[in-house]
Symmetry: C2
DNA sequence: CTGTTAGCGCATTCAC
DNA sequence: GTGAATGCGCTAACAG
């Protein structure tokens, strides 16, 4: 049978209180009995029952990552970086993939409350109204909250984001420096804070360079490969931009494909810059020039903030903004004098 | 404060047993009191404390997915398909990314035991010897085990794999049907059952076609993009295969890049076929012809098997073998008469 | 059909 | 320094 604290206590000739104390390193115990208990625990291969501990109010060491889609490389890489650091800090991670479904979101909040996770990291906005009330209960139960890669927390929580304004700015700047002025943007549905900020940065750079922005060159998509190909295709048929700023690597790949079908050469006839720097950027042909999000750092930062909050080391919420980094590869090139 | 089963019982004017019964749908209760209790629970927004329940031996509804690397699209997509079905079946999923580190593996096994997860799905082989003893304890504690995409279970467990022999066979067959005979294979370190079987299938097809196999055309890699590019490059410099069978999509992309650098056109001068059919296959330029693993089905199948085992519906272990599917895209083409 | 009671394994006052 | 006793919230005999 499973060995309990009683078994250990008996074998060590002490009370369960003493055993509990050496486990949690609380109270005062003589070095001698501590050693004895430790040895017995090792011999019996004793591991405390987490649920019994949780029942008395102890932490569960579980955190949850709420993400729209783990199969998306960006979230996959994010999850990995969080998991790595979480493991080091002694936390296990539950994955909640909402699949952009508000119902699933709400449902998950309910189980997270039940499971008494120590903290939750949102890699998605919280869109659903029903979710909000569930979330408020969660917050009132001492469960710590944090948000990553989004900046629309409706409740007080720690936040880690990248400087999207600067990201958009640098992307535009790069293209401008190569001589491009006829630049299109392939965006998503425009709802996320990230997108809005990227556009803002883009505008800023264009204004500084005194290049007017043609609104017909800003094309929305559903953030998917299919949708990206379609919209990029229409764009290329309609206008003739010499450069495209895609708001993520998937859309950049889509643009490459759309160009390819039309016999437009990247980067010779058309420069394309992506965003995120996921594995796709390396894989693409040609390899993608892209604005890198510091995924690893972002992941580490959130979980560290969250851990601090869980341990009660800090009561004030914090916001960390990390800088983007331009990765120049081979999908962008100087504007050719007689291009298109 | 958190509302407990006592609060509900009091408010409903019944005993906690009755409440427990309606929660778990056990025993016989009059429809009337059941309704009453249900209403009260809803009004009070009561959710049972999972830990208290677990303490009495009830299931935790937690399962764990042990994977080498969730940031790898293949495992990401696998995780997603498992999570989706798990959610439907009422299970939450913990992610354990071992990062190919035996120590982390062992450590995870220990916490999984503590947490009393209902079941564990291995998407990795179990390599570590220390892990084995930990695993045996786990198995002895009623925790159900399953393995996916690998077939080297050291303990009895349910298994879901793809027919890799056939996958290798179909890849070779496809290339042969296009007229290729000078075919190279880019493999990994050769350790997994999947690889061995793919080679086996490849050999089989070649033999049937009476095409001799040149062993120098089988090049090992570390399964990474970098390593793949390097080895593919050496291969192309050294021999001059007209086709390459890469053992996963990452390696296929690597081969495309290596060819590109050398001015070798895909698929005109060189046909390349991948394996897995991850998002990379769609993204690649040209889009990759590849042997699709039925990731979604595989994921669904394991979790369903596991759930059955957890619910005790079946005592005998089962093995499901799913068929691969050839996805013809644009990275392969008929051998040109005067090619290279 | 419903209620009483005794644990599940552990943390935590209080005493000693 | 150490231990006995109590309760965390729930399930499962056992009685009615």
């Amino acid at each position: 049978m499973k060995t309990t604290i009683y078994d250990v206590a008996k074998a060590a000739g002490v009370s369960i209180t003493t055993v509990s104390r050496v486990i949690n390193n609380t109270g005062r115990i003589s070095e001698k009995t501590r050693q004895k208990v430790m040895n017995v625990m090792k011999e019996m291969a004793y591991t405390p029952n987490v649920h019994a501990a949780a029942l008395t109010g102890k932490r569960t060491n579980m955190i949850a990552l709420v993400t729209p889609d783990i199969s998306n490389p960006f979230y996959g890489e994010l999850a990995k970086s969080i998991e790595e650091r979480a493991d080091e800090l002694g936390f296990q991670m539950m994955i909640c993939s909402t699949d952009y479904d508000p119902k699933k979101e709400t449902k998950y909040f309910s189980v997270l409350k039940q499971k008494k996770v120590d903290g939750i990291i949102f890699a998605t906005g919280i869109e659903n109204h029903d979710s909000m009330s569930a979330l408020e209960e969660i917050a009132s139960e001492q469960i710590q909250l944090a948000m990553i890669s989004q900046d629309k927390a409706l409740l007080p929580m720690d936040i880690v984001v990248m400087d999207d304004v600067r990201g958009g700015y640098e992307a535009a700047k790069h293209l401008l420096s190569l001589g491009h002025t006829n630049i299109a943007c392939i965006v998503g549905d425009g709802s996320t804070t990230g997108e809005k900020n990227r556009i803002k940065g883009f505008r800023q750079a264009m204004e500084e360079a005194d290049v007017p922005i043609d609104k017909s060159l800003i094309v929305p998509t559903r953030f998917s490969l299919e949708s990206g190909k379609e919209e990029a295709g229409k764009l290329l048929d309609r206008n003739a931009p010499t450069a495209i700023f895609a708001f993520n690597d998937v859309l950049a790949c889509a643009a490459i494909q759309a160009a390819r079908i039309r016999g437009i050469k990247v980067p010779d006839d058309l420069s394309i810059i992506g965003f995120d720097n996921t594995i796709l950027a390396e894989m693409a042909a040609p390899p993608l020039t892209t604005v890198a999000q510091p995924i690893k750092d972002m992941g580490r930062s959130v979980i560290e903030l969250l851990a601090e909050a869980i341990e009660g080391k800090r009561k004030t919420k914090q916001k960390i903004v990390l800088p983007p980094e331009l990765m120049v590869r081979h999908s962008t090139s100087p504007l050719k004098p007689r291009a298109r």
